[in-house]
Amino acid sequence: MAQAARRLAALLVYGACALLAGCGGDVEGKVDELPVGSEAPAYGDTFVQASIGDIGGLIPNLTSDQSSHEVGSMIYDGLVKQDKDLNIAPAMAESWTFSKDCLTLTFKLRKDVKWHDGQPFTANDVLFTWKTITNPKTPAPFKDGFLQVKDVEVLDPHTVRVTYPKPYARALETWGEDILPKHLLEPYVADGKLRESPQNRFPIGTGPYRFREWKPGEKVVVTANPDYYEGRPYIGRIVYRVIPSQATIFLELKAKGVDYSLLGAFQYSRQTEYPAFRKAYNKYRYPGTGYTFFAFNLKDPRFADKRVRQAFAHAISKPELIEGIRIGLAREATGPIRPGTWAYTDQVKRYEYNPEKAKALLAEAGWIDRDDDGVVEDRQGRPFTFTIRTNQGNDERRKIAEIVQQRLKAIGVNADIQVIEWAAFIKEFVKPRRFEALVLGLGTGVDPDQYVIWHSSQTAPDQMNRTGYSNPEVDRLLEAGRASCTQKDRIPYYHRLQEILADDLPMIFLYYDERLPVVSSRFRGIEPAPAGIFYNFNQWYVPKYLQRYTSG
């Protein structure tokens, strides 16, 4: 029954995915080969996860790398969290209310939350965390959300009131920030020595897992918190193993040395389809958080012409890119807002692959092949030649550049490709806007606010509007969109934003990649959803008869 429900859920979420055998728990048919025993939820066992890089530190608020945040999210909790549909749900706050003008936000905190050292969690910790992050001496890379706050007041030990000077759309989301223990950290914050505090080595949090050990470059171990306020997690221990080589991770998977890893598209669809692997692991796929794009420098007179940009969009075939580079494991992008989130709409202009139309648009913009050499020229006879730049170390982007180069050649545009080391790429080309076109990727949050990426005021070297896009209507929409705290009010602004961007094409949105994890088939209770698979990790379990490790 549970199996059926899970499959149904998977089908509903990913219609197309059903065609591939690779979705959802697919162990049935092989059950007779496994030892039999009770499928009842049981405590114990260890979840072994491989990651390429070590964590940066154990105060996740100070780090910006993925591994630190993954580990941190097990040890710490925020006031709110994301549920399986990417909506905001209660965590350490049991409820909250916004005032009508969106300027005050009042949290009611749970009374049964304790720090791992037994101290009670109170409103003072919330106030302390806000003060810590906004303290100029704290080197937290993401402060913006908390800097928008005017004041935080403790009304009683379990009630906090936050006030904003003006409505701030991401207000609630920012309170997903990990809350830090006041009783352990106060002196370090005042001295600006947070990074050097014991907390950064032996953290005390309120989350579902307690810190056990960190062997730099080798592993991080956490164990289940028996007093967790939402109940003790079933899986007794999590080991994050640092394995810097992707090839080694893959071999460890084959030898069942790790229980979870993300796969590349080729590994996912070609190298792991043999029966033994299918028996040992369940494969999942769900939309990733980032999209890959082909960006124009709009300050370049050739690309300032919308018809040229649209011609390029018609010349490039997104299905071809997805098939050729991701073996079909990606989703066409139509705009910068993540599909599956509430602000997304697919009711926007699309550009089918059509080289003839592309040529016609180019001709309209004055680009015609005047001397029959296969390359289009402008009225002064200058050929259309430019350089696509991308960063080293990302094979997908390099391949995209190569395919695009071929497709553009077919419409008479000459593109060179330059692949540059990351640091130099950002510093020498992207920030000073010394580029003609880029292939790059961008991660998206759950909130649709895109102010810093598209607003015309955000074009300084260190700012994120890299194409130099400027459109008064878009500016207005972005301002209005972030100035309300009600989803319903915000939706129309973002729908319109997506329409305009799809028509204006400051960049060609190519695709959203898909996350392709495999999890050892002994783990039960995994239910893929738009948020991925980890949102209900505390409910995962291994039936007693399948447990492999002592959980400590």
Partner: protein, 330 residues
């Protein structure tokens, strides 16, 4: 001898300063800085944090001033703290990584020397024999085989297919629950593949040196003399020839001392061993200047010391060469 050592030591000081200055220059001039990696390329990142950290790390000052600040602290053995969010002292970070690298490389070195000397000697004494040809081909295959490729093959065979040996890491996940002798075996079994791979690659150099040096020696007159005295071939080779043939090998051995702590990046990366090689690569990639510099100082000091030791050892084992103060004697 003492005078010679002292003079060399004194000369090493300006040399070391020169090395650190050039290293500092090169690492700070490399494109990008630590802040490009600490403050993410993300729409929600706060730019003021960057300013703040630049100040805190002293990166707002001109490079010579930065270098001077570093040097004045370094002479007091204060190498500062890592720029990364863990903010650990550089020496702590190196201390965490050093033991495993030292262990791996020493064992590897012992095995290489232990194998290379007999291989080299036998090849030399039986020059152009079938044995000579076979070992020559064998060690050159080792020399030409890329580490990572061999590592992956062995991991696939012994780890994934046969399941005899662990694939990567240092300890089993349930290590702390194992009985004592199982713990030792578990740890050792994790080291077998990495050491095999590293040894196979390093065997060629040493055995060829040994062969070459032995070939030269056995053509010498005194070896002929020894034979003429009627000594058995065994004694001639092992007592008279080998001692002399080992001289150049001692020098090479001395020069490979710094390699003991340098660590092999490829082997460490592919076997997920948290050693010095990985630390160095990661700190260079993230432009973690204090850690890079700390590492370089240790490695270059060791190189200089190893040079000195090699020179002195050479003098000690070879009576023909006496250095320094006794130069006057002809």
């Amino acid at each position: 001898m003492a005078l010679f050592a002292l003079r060399r030591l004194l000369l090493a000081v300006p040399l070391l300063i020169g090395i650190t200055f050039i290293s500092y220059l090169v690492i700070t001039l490399a494109p990008g800085g630590p802040l490009d990696f600490l403050t993410p390329d993300d729409p929600n990142a706060s730019p003021e944090v960057k300013e703040r950290l630049i100040k805190e790390f002293g990166l707002d000052k001109p490079i010579p001033v930065q270098y001077w600040n570093w040097l004045t602290r370094a002479v007091r053995l204060d190498f500062g703290r890592s720029f990364l969010p863990d903010g650990k002292p550089v020496l702590t970070k190196i201390g965490e990584r050093l033991p495993i690298t030292l262990l791996l490389n020493s064992v590897e070195m012992l095995i290489i020397v232990g194998l290379a000397v007999p291989i080299g000697v036998l090849s030399a004494t039986r020059q152009y024999s079938l044995y000579d040809k076979v070992t020559t081909v064998f060690v050159f295959i080792g020399f030409a085989t890329p580490d990572f490729w061999l590592a992956l093959l062995l991991m696939t065979l012994f780890g994934a297919q046969l399941g005899w040996l662990p694939i990567s890491g240092l300890r089993h996940l349930n290590w702390e629950y194992l009985p004592f002798w199982r713990q030792q075996w578990d740890f050792a079994s994790h080291l077998i593949l990495p050491i095999t791979v590293a040894t196979f690659g390093g065997l060629a150099g040493f055995s060829r040196y040994m062969r070459q040096s032995m070939l030269e020696v056995i053509r010498q007159d005194y070896v002929q003399t020894a034979r003429a005295k009627g000594l058995s071939e065994r004694v001639v080779i092992s007592k008279h020839a080998l001692r002399n043939a080992l001289l150049p090998v001692v020098t090479i051995l001395g020069l490979s001392l710094p390699g003991l702590i340098g660590g092999s990046i490829i082997v460490e990366t592919i076997f997920a061993i948290p050693g010095m090689g990985q630390l160095m690569v990661q700190s260079v990639f993230s432009r973690d200047y204090p850690v890079v510099m700390g590492n370089l100082v240790i490695v270059s000091t060791l190189t200089l010391v190893a040079n000195l030791i090699a020179d002195m050892a050479y003098g000690l084992v070879d009576p023909r060469i006496r250095l320094g103060g006794r130069r006057g004697r002809r």
